[in-house]
Symmetry: C2
Subunit: 438 residues, 2 copies
């Protein structure tokens, strides 16, 4: 299925942010708006795009090219009359479309799940499905928004100036080719907007809607909406499996770092994984000296590596660069980093105190920690089902190491870790055994 993206408008209201760029190229956390629309659609399974250009179309074409750098295919059409209604932009793509298609706006961001759901829907006799928002959300500029009236599962009216309305047009559509006839009919009536075409379908009882529910969407029209979108994207980086240290401390630092990195560099998530590993290595090396100042510094570095370890996933998600391999390689490096840090602690303590018990406690602290991560793979699936919030993981382990190091208690720290990690593993095995569906 193709997606048609309207990228013809000028976007006057956001000009102060986008400078002399056309609105679709307005940057947001390392990607332009239209890149976010394309990559969101791609992650919902769409690989073929038709983009309607108008105001400063050359700049957009130059930026996106044939789409190969995004792993998609992009065709362009030009709408010379872009200053008129946006219905003309849709009509200008008529020759490129010959089956049902998705219509998107280059300045409307959305959660890919919304589009995934829309693609599953069937037209079932209708010629269009419009995604609408029936909640009243704070960030929606009601004056500027396109409203709809509905009856049963059909749209019965649409327009900016409806006095009473049931929902807001989210700018995400599934259409059959019949929308082109409807747009022509609307043109005859003197209405050159997309809403005009939708109204023609609605009048004939051929326009359905899909409720966006809790799915996220936003029309980026002003500096304020751009800020709101940024805030939402950054907040969504906190994962449901995050432990407490990660959620309340590490993310507070790693997210601003990730924001800086995506806005100012092209660094890859895998490179960040390796940097985090190297910081752990340095921490292990400092621990091995066995003297307090080294130990304290090493503990701080261990916690710092834990923070940086959040950035690879954050950058991957912000830039649509998540990969199964990347996540796996990162997790393997994390396990080695954990073990090497503990090894450094044991070695340093041994060299200074020659108490062989450190090898025993360190051994069980390392094994317990690695097996924490090993058991988590399956346990997380169970936690998901049971919606438990508490999670003992790497964030807590490295935080304990930092605290213990600052107060020069390597030996005690390893004893505590050996107990906590192995008890947690036992707890997981016991809790899971009580799950009926396991």
């Amino acid at each position: 299925m193709k997606a048609l993206i309207i990228a013809a408008g000028e976007g006057k209201r956001i000009r102060d942010v986008s400078k002399n760029l056309p609105k679709p190229l307005t940057p947001l956390l390392g990607l332009s708006l239209i890149e976010r629309v394309i990559l969101s659609a791609k992650s919902a399974g769409i690989n073929d795009f038709v983009i309607v250009l108008g105001y400063k179309g050359d700049k957009i074409r130059e930026k996106l090219g044939d789409g190969s750098k995004y792993g998609v295919s992009i065709e362009y059409v030009e709408n010379k009359e872009w200053k008129k209604g946006n219905g003309l932009s849709v009509l200008s793509a008529e020759d490129k479309i010959n089956e049902n298609f998705i219509l998107l706006m280059s300045d409307h961001l959305f959660d890919p799940d919304v589009l995934r759901e829309l693609r599953r829907r069937k037209l079932a006799g209708a010629d269009g499905i419009l995604v609408i928002d029936r909640g009243r959300r704070d960030h929606i500029d009601l004056e500027d928004a396109t409203k709809v009236r509905i009856r049963d599962d059909m749209i019965v009216d649409i327009g900016k100036n409806l006095d009473e309305f049931d929902g807001i047009d989210c700018g995400i559509f599934l259409f059959s080719e019949r929308i082109f006839d409807a747009l022509k009919e609307s043109l005859k009536r003197g209405d050159d907007t997309l809403s005009g075409g939708v109204r023609v379908l609605a009048e004939n009882g051929r326009m359905r809607f899909m409720d966006i529910g809790n799915g996220f969407w936003i029309d980026i029209d002003t500096r304020e909406s751009l800020k709101f979108a940024e805030k939402h994207l950054l907040k969504s980086l906190i994962k449901s499996t995050d432990g407490p240290i990660s959620r309340y401390i590490n993310r507070k630092v790693s997210i601003p770092i990730s924001k800086f990195l995506v806005e100012n560099t092209r660094v890859s998530p895998n490179a960040i994984s390796i940097v985090s590993f190297l910081i752990s290595l340095l921490s292990a090396f400092l621990f091995s000296f066995g003297q307090w100042l080294y130990i304290a510094l090493a503990g701080l570095l261990a916690q710092f590596s834990s923070i940086i370890d959040g950035c690879d996933g954050e950058i991957a998600r912000l830039k649509f660069r998540e990969s199964e391999y990347g996540a796996w390689m990162d997790s393997v490096l994390d396990r080695y980093a954990d073990c090497l840090v503990i090894f450094g602690m044991m070695y340093g303590h041994w060299m200074v105190h020659t108490d062989f018990m450190i090898w025993i406690w360190g051994f069980f602290a390392a094994v317990g920690g690695v097996l924490n991560s090993y058991t988590a793979i399956k346990f997380d699936q169970i936690v998901k089902r049971r919606k438990i919030k508490y999670r003992f993981g790497r964030d807590i382990r490295l935080f304990i190491i930092m605290l213990g190091s600052i107060v020069n208690q390597v030996f005690l720290t390893l004893i505590i870790l050996a107990f906590l990690t192995n008890i947690e593993n036992l707890r997981r095995v016991i809790i899971s055994s009580k799950q009926k569906d396991y």
Copy 2:
């Protein structure tokens, strides 16, 4: 969807094995034939059964009950005329069936995948689909088998005495209720067999077939076919992810042990997991003495625990008791067992030689081994795609420990393990990075 199982016959030819039991209760590796049929169907997604009883039906009813102990529901019907053709057995269940249903024979074993595939098929205008075997397999008694002739995707003739034939009736059917009319029609012609009813459907162009391909099935009619089925079931316990030591050494011992256990005890797979863990614990304890005789014995025990570790999965599969939790708990126990064995080796060596280097090598041997299993979770998925046969895993690690212990080389063994396991982990990360689809 319901499954109707014909369990009315006497099974004279197998009487010497089943003693005075009705044939469906003939034992095979810890379960009776009809239990295997029910549990195979259950694992293919069928939960409601109607069983036709005849010869010694009370004993079957007594054994199976209402099915709740298998997690299914079983109803019974009685066919007083069980000495006559088996078409009458099917007819006797007419009142219990009011939609499409699966028909199975209580003495025909099959791979659940075959039934899974049959359930996906649509009757598409026909009134029956018969699973047929178009290969000529050594274990099929051609004289006694029911043969079929086919044209395109339809069955055109069926019977024991066809001169020319295209395939063998596997005794696995999907029927609409129309089979009952066809059986009555056949009865009028003087043929009271199921094949008679199928022939009526075939004559009217309403009987399709499904080719069983490489799927396993067997009609248990004689002592020889029972032995063949046993051999097949035991052979199928070897897993594609088994390492070389497991495949060529451990399974040769564990499978006969599992056979003994399912035939003579009711021991649960999880109990075996725990026994294997306890043997490892004993091995670790013996290692901790640090003297050669203890070490050699400990090494042999480690290898023995590796062998017993195969039995839990084997028993689970033989008795249809596989569970996600059981497999997971076993893997967590295995990781702890591995670490404790290595800890025993380190501790014993330290006590005798007080060389602190043992702690370092042991640490990395343990960590490398656990991370072998950690990386395997994802790597196995890749191996599957690439069909590599070689796999470095627990079987090899414990075998190396046994060899090293016999020759009293604990120190060297841990060095070797530290290198092999960690290099293998590095290899996996590198190989995976080159997989395009990752």
